[in-house]
Symmetry: D2
Subunit: 93 residues, 4 copies
């Protein structure tokens, strides 16, 4: 079981909505809509993706990392290092 | 005509690829794949979207803004203010 | 003359304030204050720096780029390419 | 003791360097240096601050959060929620 498993349906819904946003942006480009309007939609989709990432990360810390730490040992250390690396990728993306 | 019009086909291709990335992420969530692996894909999709935004913005400056400025007057000022606002949204997203 | 020249005093004031924020963060680290409180101040300083960057960029577009474009030729193209590169660095930082 | 306590000297050194970068940027503004050059330095300082934040966060997870989780109970939950909120502020700044 993963951190997000309980909220899987909600995450799927959010991802479908983002997929729709991207498809909408492609439609705008196809229709040669105004650059700034396209950019506004790209920023909105980026923000939505970032929100999904922050949600997944929170669940991951609250479930997977906490459980690994509770069990202790090397796996716990690995999980924390892995979470830190994911946070760094997120901050830089 | 918009800044990106000449490269429309390339932008559509990139957007289709990002749409596929989002669909892939939804698939991973459906299959209950490991949080960190999902997050890695979300970071990759965010980066790809950001690259599209930077491309669109560059084209917008090089074509729409330059043209408006060449024509001068209030429209030029508006275009620059509008571009600045889009840049701010991008930096904050 | 640069884009920000007219607002130089205001920018200097903002930069002094950010310098003070950084010094305050160092003080917190020296006093071994709580990590999360230090992080909150680092986020605030980062936001303030980003706001300065967006301001400088806006002035640059409104003055330097507009003037170069009005003069036309290769310099105009260079200025736009240079601005795009600065925007990309900003978005990625 | 905080997560970063052992590396305090190194963090102080990095913060002093960032403080110097900000002072250097103010000097550039004072000398009316070229906007894009100022922006390049602002991006560099922002990146350096972000790296400090990621370092502090990693230490915080590895020490404070892990310890709280090992002790268990409500404090553990609080620490994780607090870390998530700090990550969100960082991603958005």
């Amino acid at each position: 079981m993963n951190g997000y498993t309980q909220d899987r349906v909600a995450y799927l819904k959010r991802l479908r909505r983002i997929e729709g946003q991207i498809r909408g942006i492609a439609k705008m480009v196809e229709n040669d809509e105004y650059c700034i309007d396209v950019l506004t939609q790209v920023s909105a989709a980026t923000k939505a993706l970032e929100a999904v990432a922050l949600g997944l990360l929170d669940e991951h810390l609250r479930h997977c990392v906490v459980q690994a730490v509770a069990e202790g040992g090397q796996v716990a250390e690995q999980k924390v290092a892995e979470a830190s690396a994911a946070i760094a990728r997120l901050v830089k993306s």
